[in-house]
């Protein structure tokens, strides 16, 4: 591992590790604090024209991004939205949407589902979805609870200099929202997006190569500072020589920090010769990947050309049989027709 990589990892752990808390976020240079203290969240206005919509309450602050700031691989900007909400069940079911924006572009959308009063089958819950943590769903048993979610800003949500930060509360259906406040922990931070660092390694002792298939066991270790989510395993290979049959499992939903997962990739050998395979994970995860050089032995008739050669005689036999059948049928039909024609002539 290079020194630069170690630096990036340290930066990633510093920025992303939830265990380090607000102090770690604050320690990072590229951050924007939209509010200094807690800000109340209120509903403005009255019920809207019997359409079940209650006007939104919005907190607006102006923030300043660094010069040349933009959303992209050089620095990914993320919003963390922390709010305490107070709700009560209404006669009708209610949907409360809490959204954090920059420049009017939604970054975090939290949906709070409040069942109707007297509905004992369903519980109050909130769920947020983002590319960092996937779906976060929490069941709520108290009237007052904290919502803490984060996600990337949209491309259009990052502009150099002055920008607009806003948090909006909307309510649909019943009037369940009682109030709340936006926590000063809410912040926007720019950093390297890697949530985890995956080290991919071959389990060479279990590598199996025969004339027909190649079976490659892999181990994935999360060396990062926090859990990796939604890991999709990928393989790059020469499709003239190999055909990927399957990677099992192909998708790892969550891998906590410091843990290892295993997978097996199975290929069919198409041609003998020397080739290489590269394994890695989806772009969402920082990964070193790994490569494997292989000498593929001559196949035992299991490759595609062998299969074709085996198939050709059978196909030719089938066509010949069909032709023979057609000829015999034609001949028999002529035998039946000729006498009749002969009779007519007479």
């Amino acid at each position: 591992m290079t020194a630069g990589r170690v630096g990036l990892l340290a930066c990633a752990v510093l920025v992303w590790s939830p265990s380090t808390g607000t102090e770690a976020w604050a320690a990072h240079r590229a951050q924007v604090r939209p509010i200094a203290t807690t800000v109340p969240l209120v509903m403005d206005g009255t019920t809207g024209k019997d359409r079940g919509i209650h006007p939104a309450g919005t907190v607006v602050r102006h923030i300043t991004f660094p010069a040349h700031a933009h959303q992209g691989p050089a620095r990914w900007w993320v919003m963390r939205l922390v709010a305490r909400l107070s709700i009560r069940r209404a006669p009708k079911p209610s949907l409360i949407d809490l959204t954090g924006f920059t420049n009017g572009r939604a970054s975090i959308q939290v949906e709070i589902v409040v069942p109707a009063r007297g509905d004992t089958r369903h519980r109050v819950h909130w769920e947020a979805y983002g590319w960092l943590d996937g779906l976060v769903r929490r069941t709520v048993s108290r009237r007052s609870f904290v919502v803490d979610a984060r996600n990337y800003l949209q491309y259009g949500g990052v502009t150099p200099g002055r920008a607009r930060f806003s948090v909006q509360v909307e309510q649909f259906g019943g009037r369940a929202f009682r109030g709340g406040y936006l926590s000063a922990k809410t912040l926007i931070v720019g950093g390297y997006p890697t949530a985890a660092s995956m080290d991919t390694a071959l389990v060479r002792s279990q590598l199996r190569v025969d004339g027909r298939t190649v079976r490659v066991p892999l181990a994935f270790a999360n060396r990062g500072g926090r859990a990796a989510v939604a890991i999709k395993l990928k393989a790059s290979y020469d499709d003239q020589m190999l055909k990927l049959l399957h990677i099992s499992p192909r998708f790892i939903h969550r891998l906590p920090a410091g843990r290892t997962a295993r997978a097996v990739a199975t290929f069919r050998v198409l041609r003998p010769g020397r080739t290489s395979i590269r394994f890695g994970e989806s772009d969402a995860v920082r990964s070193s990947g790994t490569s494997l050089a292989l000498a593929l032995p001559r196949t035992d008739g299991g490759d595609s050309s062998g299969a074709l050669l085996g198939f050709l005689p059978a196909a030719l036999l089938f066509i010949a049989g069909g032709v023979a059948f057609a000829v015999s049928a034609h001949a028999s039909s002529r035998r039946l027709l000729v006498p009749r024609i002969g009779l007519r002539r007479r």
Partner: protein, 213 residues
């Protein structure tokens, strides 16, 4: 003689495999649409059975920025309070294709009159919404009109997708959402054609783009 039942069985099996699902229509331009690392099909289907012969309606709506299925249905509930039959949308969130199911929402069905029916699809495992860095929280939708629906005498018809798209777009605009009609290319144009007895496809290739605040 013994082979005749076998032949019948084979033919029947082929017919069963090739036959479109009940109520399905045919699309001549079914295609996946790409958005950042996501994809979605430009029609929805009558079952979890992607095929040009199993489509229901073309995608004509794109709700972006701060949308979710529940939010759109809730916000437009005053205009479209009734439910409809469940169909399947097909999307890919970058980790593989999946089906989303919804009955959609519609205006009041009545005899000898049209009602508007729309369906919204998002990722059901992520709260019925998708997210992309260029469009934020987004969902896609199909639209159509139903004619003479319910316990009515006479035949029922459906389709007229462009008219239904306009109806949803107009009502979205009425609640303060920003609407750009016919902005988002979906490559699914149908310039007025009947499919079977009762389905009239009619839509341009551009979906209404609705930015949800």
């Amino acid at each position: 003689m013994r082979t005749i039942p076998l032949k019948v069985l084979l033919v029947a099996t082929f017919c069963l495999i090739l036959a479109p699902s009940a109520g399905a229509s045919t699309a001549y331009n079914l295609a996946a649409q790409r958005l950042d690392s996501d994809s979605f099909d430009n029609y929805d289907f009558v079952c979890d059975c992607v095929s040009s012969y199993n489509v229901d309606q073309p995608v004509t709506l794109f709700f972006a920025n701060n949308a979710s299925k529940d939010k759109v249905y809730s916000a437009l509930y005053g205009f479209f309070p009734y439910g409809g039959s469940t169909q399947s949308g097909r999307l890919d969130n970058g980790f593989g294709w999946f089906y989303a199911h919804t009955g959609g929402k519609k205006s009041q069905p009545s005899c000898n009159a049209f009602d508007t029916h729309y369906r919204i699809y998002g990722d059901p495992s992520h709260g019925d919404r998708m997210w992309s860095p260029s469009q934020g929280y987004y969902v896609i939708g199909t639209t159509h009109l139903d004619y003479n629906e319910g316990p009515c005498s006479g035949s029922s018809y459906y389709g007229w997708n462009e008219n239904a798209e306009s109806s949803v777009a107009t009502n979205s605009s009425a609640i303060g959402w920003s609407v750009w009609s016919n902005l988002w290319g979906m490559s699914n144009a149908n310039s007025g054609r009947w499919d079977g007895c009762c389905h009239y496809f009619n839509n341009d290739a551009n979906a209404a783009y609705i930015s949800v605040p």
